[in-house]
Amino acid sequence: MKKQRSPAGPRAKALGLGIGGIVLFFLIWEATPRLGLVSDRYLPPASEVLVRLAQYFTEAAFWKDVADTMTSWALGLAIATVAAIVVGLIIGSSRFLRRATHTTIEFLRPIPSVALIPLAVLIFGTSIESTLLLVVYASFWQVLLQLLYGIADVDAVANDTAKSYGLGRLARVRYVIWPTALPYLMTGLRLAAAVALILAITAELIIGTPGLGKQIALTQSGGAISSMYALVLATGLIGVLINLAARIIEKRVLSWHPSVRGEVVL
């Protein structure tokens, strides 16, 4: 960030564009019911929903719901990520394990978390553990798979270098494999973060544990349509914020990576 840059720095410009994109989206949304493309009884105009959302922002109960949802999200994502990293590094650094686990992983991955709800409730009751099980199950695979691809991307010369200097398996994981896989992992984390949020809300919605999901279910069954869209909007906003946080982390941990270095520009 040197002075020579234009007064509106690139970061400000990026932010401006991002906000522009969102404004555009709201305009389209506003127009859709207003122009009668869809009845406003089923899709209220954006302005109405935004007003409702602003109202929510002043309610303590709403923030309690947000906190509940974010707790399941954060816990679930953390467990899934740690588990996936441990499993991924173990499987990824052994050809035998990679081959032996392939069938099982591919069989388990497409099983929808939602289908596991009865089992989860049976085992854990309707406590937070049930929600966590669903969140963890769904987001675990995203991180694991990305990590496995990341590990496969290790540069042969870099790996040889490490080996020739006597770096053992663990040291290679720490100093070579991990940094190489990190960009893939970050993508996995961003994928998993959204899936975890989706599952936290879906689980609340179906199991009925407190949180945004339960409120969405209530507003749906209560016919409070603008409230429902306001909550959906809140969910989307949380997604945007999570991504923002992920980008900031990425900037820090991947400062050396071409995608962040930004050498390649069009």
């Binding site: 899709l43 929808p112 289908a115």
Partner: protein, 257 residues
């Protein structure tokens, strides 16, 4: 690898797990907990026959269409967004917004906008399966090798040729990681799309079984999902081997540990 070894790798761990499961569920009388033998039987009686053609095949058809669109759109949008910074800045917040919306609340909206039909279900599949491809493509494009990029520029390789000969192949390893994720997510969303506004399909049937306490049948449906996932993974592996043979050659020289 010898065919025998291949078979051993393929079935080894699953067999171990099934035996373990059998042992653990041996004494159980719980209604909701499936048992391997019972399940295998149910699998056969439930899914072989009419139901295969009326529920499974149409679902697979929608899945195939959805996945093709998700992958195609994901790659095209990913290439565009990844290589154009202003476009990325413009769209990223919006895309992240949609990515965070749970399908169960997205479905009613799609129903409203598209209608109660196959297109809606395909749209649900696309709405979830596109993200891994899109994100991986965007990140891959952002990380292309700078020297290769310079080579292209200095030889005047631009526009479509640049995409075709440089960006796309360079990003393919990462796209493949995304596609592999998309396959299973697409399958999950196929189920979710059939939970609403539906009257047939694999997902619909599984949910029906669940609601009607046909628990072994429900588990057998989940096994079918797993098997389809496995099938997709095998097809995928076959394609990946061909598309990425250069990459495996490049990387596996020393990966034999």
């Amino acid at each position: 690898m010898s065919p025998l070894k291949r078979v051993a790798y393929f079935f080894g761990l699953p067999i171990v797990l099934i035996v373990l499961w059998w042992a653990l569920s041996f004494g159980s009388t719980n209604f909701f907990v499936p048992k391997p033998f019972e399940l295998a039987q149910t699998l056969w009686t439930t899914w072989i026959g009419e139901r295969f053609f009326e529920d499974v095949l149409p679902s697979l058809g929608r899945l195939a269409v959805g996945l093709l669109f998700a992958i195609g759109l994901g790659i095209v949008l990913g290439l565009l967004i990844g290589s154009t910074r202003w476009l990325r800045n413009l769209l990223e917040p919006m895309l992240e917004f949609f990515r965070a919306i749970p399908p169960p609340v997205l479905v009613p909206l799609l129903m409203l906008l598209i209608g109660v039909n196959d297109s809606m279900k395909v749209a649900v599949i696309i709405s979830g399966a596109i993200w891994p491809v899109l994100l991986n493509t965007v990140e891959g494009v952002r990380a292309v090798d700078s020297v290769l990029n310079d080579s292209c520029r200095s030889y005047g390789i631009r526009g479509f040729a640049r995409i075709r000969y440089f960006v796309l192949p360079a990003v393919t390893p990462q796209i493949m990681a995304g596609v592999r994720q998309s396959l299973s997510i697409g399958l999950i969303l196929m189920v979710i799309s059939e939970m609403f506004a539906s009257s047939s399909g694999l997902g619909f049937t599984i949910v029906q079984f669940q609601r009607n306490f046909a628990i072994p049948e429900m588990w057998s449906g989940i096994v079918v999902l797993g098997l389809i996932g496995l099938g997709l993974a095998l097809i995928f592996q076959f394609v990946e081997r061909r598309v990425l043979h250069w990459y495996h050659g490049l990387k596996e020289i020393t990966h034999d540990s």
